[in-house]
Symmetry: C2
């Protein structure tokens, strides 16, 4: 009789009310990570030093980088920055959302928000058009819509993706970018997130440092793919900007591609030149986080190998933790090379007016 | 009434009896690939020039590299090779089979076959122990079993894997290798095959050249992981040999790891030195396919950046298509550096007796 009313529910969910309730049970070394990221398998790679400069909080409080006037005052004016290409604060991750309609809507919202809140504050601010790269047809429409804005100077995509960026799946994006005269930039940080592949060809690193060290592998992947798939033959005016993906690996990639091309070019009949020639003509590489060899002349040698006088462009990554200071980061380079990297290469790429005469005179 | 006996079978398999039956329907440019690889999603990346030197077929016919006496006569004797580390012909792929029991048995069979058919032919041949890296406990037993053979000088694993090689999953392999005094080598070619991850962080390249260009990304992944996970602190006598994975990217990886370590070392408390110091002490890198910059001095600069005098070792990749000729590949290097790379670094690593006095005298 009693068996008829005997019930076992084999799945009832209890909850940890507040994250801090777990602290008495967790070794102290993990407390900060638990409080800031919890189970954390979405963000996954947790930086022990955070990802934002703690001295970059705006005067009125809030997130570093969230107040355009403070960015002008705190970073750009003291450092004499003439133009700043705004790349956002991780918005590229929206492309890795499983729902393309949500992602398309949020990408458009980012762009309208940027135009409303930043691009009118100062002519020094130049914008990057956020897209959902996982829906190339919709991304092309967004590029056409925002490409008309005079202060939008490029398209930006996260480097985390399901396919290498030369794949024909993505070509509508490049067609739209070329049509609008806009370079396409790629930016790291989304590797291994959402619907992207694992951050390495052999799956998942364990911690933030290991993950951060290997981010350049994905930039090599995309540049190799864009060249091999003939994207720069198909869209001859297209430029690709590799942001924050490292620089010193570029000579190796160019040499390896050129060597293999000589034996294997049957499989890429659309290529008419050495792969490295496409890279020098079509790829631009930003400097931060700049490599710091023990012997500074090694960096100069790398710059010469990669034709940095044509393709390297300064970036600071402000206000992120691994910010490169424009006043010291290129010290020791020959003067003309330094000037090309600090501003002239970017001015040519984006079509910015040169320095005014007074500033020229001061620098001379 | 008729409806009762009316039958539609919605899945009946017809077959293309011979591969060549499809040729009349296929553009000619694809004929060779179709005949040699068919649908080919297992091998997937099809080299238009094949992967074997056509002049390396043994006198009696058969697969290049399948006759030890012909290898001695065709390659080693004319080139004055004192020792050859045999790495096999793709056997490492067995680790990516879904069935670990089959893979363990086949790996053991490879080793016994090598001992029976090659290692007794000449004292110049030295063997690599094949393992199933996806079953580390079984791999450790195989290392203990074959590590007793005096001509087995290292363990070899394919670079294609489900997890980066520093992951604690693999540590029993390193414990066994250290116990037996054997370096662990990794060799490319299995990227994207079997149960391995995709060949890039952004999925699958389209063709062989694109795939081959980006193979080094996986070597960076494994070396970064082995250092960051503290494998060389846990197994201080362990050496890692990076075979055929490229060399010129190594300075970049060392510099990036060192820079990040300074900010992020809280997350790798087991590391007591700069990451690059572990690489110089524990990693050895083989030269083929050597990078060929337009300016030869660039390769010398790279060698100096990466401490090639300590860590680079010559390899030819005989009898593969992209073979490097020992008589020309290191020409132009300073004499002492060339000698270290051609033989002395390997002799120190593997404990080989040095050159005999007569050959020394001839070289002097």
């Amino acid at each position: 009789m009693r068996a008829e009313s005997f019930i076992v529910d084999t799945d009832v969910h209890n909850a940890i009310g507040k994250l801090k309730d777990l602290l008495p049970y967790l070794p102290k070394v993990w407390h900060q990570q638990w409080l800031e990221s919890g189970i954390g398998v979405h963000g996954q790679y947790y930086s022990p030093v955070g990802v934002l400069r703690q001295d970059a909080v705006p005067d009125g409080g809030g997130v570093p980088g969230s107040d355009p006037r403070f960015v002008l005052k705190h970073y750009m004016e003291p450092n004499g920055i003439d133009y700043a290409i705004l790349t956002g604060g991780g918005e590229q991750g929206i492309s890795l959302h499983a729902d393309p309609d949500y992602a398309n809507a949020v990408a458009s919202a980012f762009n309208d928000w940027l135009a409303d809140n930043w691009l009118g504050v100062s002519p020094k601010f130049k914008g990057s058009i956020q897209i959902n790269h996982s829906d190339p047809a919709a991304a092309a429409k967004e590029i056409d819509r925002m490409g008309q804005h005079p202060a939008m100077v490029q398209v930006v995509m996260g480097s985390g993706a399901r396919m290498p960026y030369g794949n024909r799946f993505y070509h509508p994006i490049y067609e739209a970018a070329e049509r609008n005269g806009l370079p396409v930039a790629i930016h790291p940080g989304t590797e291994g997130k959402g619907i992207a592949g694992a951050p390495t060809p052999s799956g998942y690193p364990t911690r933030y440092m290991e993950w951060h060290n290997i981010l350049p592998a994905n930039f090599m992947t995309h540049i190799n793919s864009l060249v091999c798939e003939g994207v720069f033959e198909k869209y001859p005016k297209l430029k690709l900007v590799s942001i924050e993906g490292g620089i010193a690996w570029l000579p190796h990639l160019m040499w390896r591609m050129d060597k293999n091309y000589k034996a294997l070019r049957d499989s890429t009949p659309w290529l008419k030149r050495l792969p490295s020639e496409y890279i020098v003509d079509h790829v631009r590489v930003t400097t931060q986080p700049i490599e710091e060899p023990a012997k500074p002349e090694h960096l100069l040698q790398i710059f010469q190998m990669m034709h940095a006088d044509k393709i390297a462009m300064f970036s600071s990554d402000y206000p992120h933790w691994d910010f490169d200071n424009p006043k010291v980061v290129l010290n020791g380079l020959p003067r003309e090379l330094k000037r090309r990297i600090l501003g002239l290469n970017a001015a040519e790429l984006y079509g910015f007016p040169m320095l005014d005469e007074q500033k020229e005179a001061e620098l001379a």
